[in-house]
């Protein structure tokens, strides 16, 4: 299979026009000692063979097409309306580039503008960018904004242990060269304990909402305490929950980041996902990545264009605070189409379905011997189950019955050995939940 269109006659005519005899003549500048190495790779396949090989590889996985999924922990199996994929598959969107030439990119630009609007509505923030790689990198970039807001004088970053463990790892990777003090996330720390760490050296305090355990913590006085020392309050939010719950802005958040994957992007073994990033207006000039703004053309017609470009790496070069260039434009489009279809009432209904189904599951599991539920705080669609047997053993039994069980919390939180994090979404039917409960009941110590 080849996508190269040239005929032998084309090649000869082109070489003659260039004034060389062979294509090899065009590579004189490449050191002769290293020129034209052999590539030891399998031979080309036909399209039919590729499809068959990849189909076999795909089916070697335990996926949501043939398993009931109760695993979340940062990636959620939600329903995506058919229209989303049909729009994504339009070549006009997916085979276009970054909208550097706005006259030829109004489709992408307006869709991004609408996406920004919806993310502002969900989070309550004044401005949102055109996306980051994922929720974890959004959080890492939020740290950069907070450091900048603190004029690089504040060196302490407080992270709640209730933030996704991988997100916290990414923050540490991103900022390993910066001499920061990243604290607060010892596994057993409470919200009150991390608030005690606030001081005038603190650039930001970040929490997850609902937290990694699915719980909604008491956030009423948090912003006041964070702002009292001049630090920023950052929320890592689940966008589906925001259709039901108070917005982070209501709690006084300055920056809201998170993972847009539940909004029509799909599981995809972890990517591509879409990190969202919203801020209060005073920080809009500090954020990384593309932002689309409204303007007019020479004839006074409304139009859209990438704006605040001087912040970006391609212009500011080493004075830019982030190098982000390619973002997740197509995934932002997916989220935009998804939210358009769901609308105000659909998004709320999905959130309610998740909530009630998760609570039904928790109530049923609570009735089993050997299991108990952490009811200490309200939760959305994910909850902690204390088990009397190792989670690994439970999940093995579930897998045999076609169920992918919860996330083993002992992996990241040693004090939560034998605790399982179970996620329930609108895609889990009552029959699936009942089957989960039945298998759990059968697993013996």
């Amino acid at each position: 299979m080849s996508y190269i269109p040239h005929t032998e006659q084309d090649r000869q005519q082109m070489l003659a026009a260039i004034g060389v005899t062979t294509i090899e003549d065009l590579f004189d500048a490449v050191p002769p000692s290293h020129r034209f190495p052999k590539l030891k790779m399998p031979e080309a396949l036909s399209e039919m063979e590729i499809a068959s090989e990849m189909q076999a590889l795909a089916e070697a996985n335990d996926h949501a097409g043939n398993y009931a999924i109760f695993r979340g922990a940062g990636a959620y199996h939600h329903f995506t309306p058919s229209v989303v994929n049909h729009i994504l598959l339009r070549g006009e969107y997916y085979t276009a580039y970054t909208p550097y030439q706005p006259e030829l990119s109004q489709g992408t630009l307006q869709a991004v503008f609408e996406y920004q609007s919806m993310m502002c509505a969900l989070t309550g923030m004044d401005a949102a960018n055109a996306s980051h790689y994922d929720g974890a990198t959004s959080l890492a970039e939020a740290v950069t904004v907070a450091l900048d807001a603190g004029r690089m004088k504040r060196k302490k970053v407080i992270l709640s242990p209730g933030i996704h463990p991988q997100y916290r790892e990414v923050v540490r990777t991103y900022h390993q060269g910066r001499g920061l003090e990243i604290v607060g996330d010892a596994p057993t720390n409470s919200l009150a304990q991390i608030v005690d760490l606030l001081d005038t050296n603190t650039a930001m305090l970040a929490i997850q909402y609902p937290n990694f355990f699915g719980q909604i913590e008491d956030l009423k006085t948090l912003a006041q305490k964070v702002h009292a020392v001049g630090a920023l309050l950052v929320f890592v939010a689940n966008p589906v929950s925001l259709a039901l719950l108070k917005s982070p802005a209501d709690y006084g958040a300055d920056i809201v980041v998170g993972e847009g994957q539940p909004l029509g992007v799909g599981l995809g073994f972890g990517g591509p996902y879409v990190g969202f990033f919203g801020v209060r207006s005073e920080y809009v000039r500090k954020i990384a990545g593309r932002i689309v703004g409204e303007t007019v053309d020479m004839d006074g017609r409304k139009a859209y264009v990438m704006t605040l470009r001087p912040r970006e790496q391609d212009i500011k070069r080493e004075r830019a605070s982030s190098n982000i260039c390619t973002n997740q434009g197509l995934m932002a489009l997916a989220a935009c189409v998804h939210m358009s279809l769901m609308g105000k009432n659909g998004l709320k209904k999905v959130a309610e379905l998740c909530y009630h189904k998760a609570h039904y599951a928790a109530e049923q599991i609570e009735k089993l011997q050997n299991y108990s539920i952490d009811w200490s705080l309200p939760f959305f669609n994910e909850f902690v189950v204390k088990c009397a047997v190792p989670v690994e053993k439970i999940n093995a039994a579930l897998l045999e019955e076609g169920i992918i069980g919860g996330y083993d919390l002992g992996r990241d939180y040693p004090h939560l050995k034998d605790h399982m994090l179970i996620a329930v979404t609108e895609t889990n039917s009552r029959a699936e939940i009942d089957a989960l409960v039945e298998v759990l009941g059968k697993v013996q110590a």
């Binding site: 040239h6 020129r35 070549g91 085979t95 609408e114 996902y273």
Partner: protein, 497 residues
Amino acid sequence: MSAEPTIYEISQAGRIGVNLPKLDVPESEKLPADLLRDELTMPEVSELEVVRHFVRLSQKNYSIDKGFYPLGSCTMKYNPKINEDVARYAGFASLHPLTDESGSQGALAVMWQLQEWLREVSGFDAASLHPAAGAHGEFAGILMIRKYHIEHGEPQRTKILVPNSAHGTNPATVTMAGLSVIDLPSDKNGDVDLGALLAICEGPEKENIAGMMITVPNTLGLFERGIIKIVETVHAAGGLMYMDGANMNALMGIVKPGELGFDVMHYNLHKTFSTPHGGGGPGCGAIGVAARLIPFLPTPHVVIKEEAKDADDAPLYGFITPEKSIGRLKAFHGNFGMHTRAYAYIRAYGGDGLHEVSRHAVLNANYIRAQLSSTYHVPYDRPCGHEFVLEGHFEGVESVHALDISKRLMDYGYHPPTNYFPLIVPEALLIEPTETETKETLDQFIDAMKKIAQEAKETPELLTGAPHVTPVSRLDEVRAAKQLVLCCAPVLAEHEN
């Protein structure tokens, strides 16, 4: 083309675009009212309205599927349709990232095999698919170089040499990693100035050099003639060599960067290996590394945990954290959907086919260069890689700039080349045709470029007022930045309340 209202303007209270299932479990006690929100400013539209809205918007976009897209440094080649299908196979698209290794062997096999092929194409000792975009790969590479020096007791090595022809991401990456840039000039032939390089590498900064970031072929589209000398010079000073592999489309089967002595490189899978750009992303910035950097690779890294027992058996794939890893750069395992597309693409070509890709990418670029060099000034008129620069400016026609030529090209049905980059060429137009374009397409483009040159001299206002046939005319970009409007009106109104 008339303006498309925003989705919020189409909205009518009470409409919905999707049917959702009824609640099939008993309703549980509701959340306390003080936790609930009362307003959500989302559009309310029917399914058909959503379809029409986004289809109408799509028609305001230019794309490869519609026409020629010679955007230099971006490699806008054809995106094969089979790639989109395979990425959507249920076993890939609906696989949870935290599925146990035993339940994700198919996905892990794709990742491992792709790593191996990338390794072979580039001549490195290992490859990682973890970074989500080219700039993310650069960041990984520079963090690895930094950590390498720290581990070797040389934490003072904090300076990275960056040629002035480099992508803007390169210097930004260096800063982001907490290191600083030493700017390196180019010589009159468009190569790195070897004298200047030598002076720095043997001068007082020698002990502080962490490495060098260089693009090959460089952003002028030229293969650095002194590349071996450059690598030797930086290595002799104790620095490591980073190659920006954005232009790998010109190198497959031509030269292996690992064999030239580079220590680390990123690939843009969305360029060279045809995973689509999607209006700005997603990408994948896989990296290749020499042996000495393997312990520093980001986590997780895919390896074979148990070899296959016999020919009919498959090995056991799994994730590891390399011994001195720089850490995790994103959640989960990288942009896996891009890995499946790149896998399908490489499978379609095989090794010999990839060599043909690069040969024809270079042939196409040189053909346009040769055909336009009598009409436009081509500042470095020697055989180029898969792209070349020309100056979009004519003597005696001061009103016409490269941007005007770009805008006029739109009227002829083309996406413009890259404008004003590289920065070292005034009025630069960086043209990259890619290998998937026919000679006829190139001839038509050459013809349009010649006509525009003619127009510039005879009717320059045609250019300075262009484009004339696009959905909107030139935009007031200053107004966009000064009077910031970043959300639809109903959302703004909600914020003002």
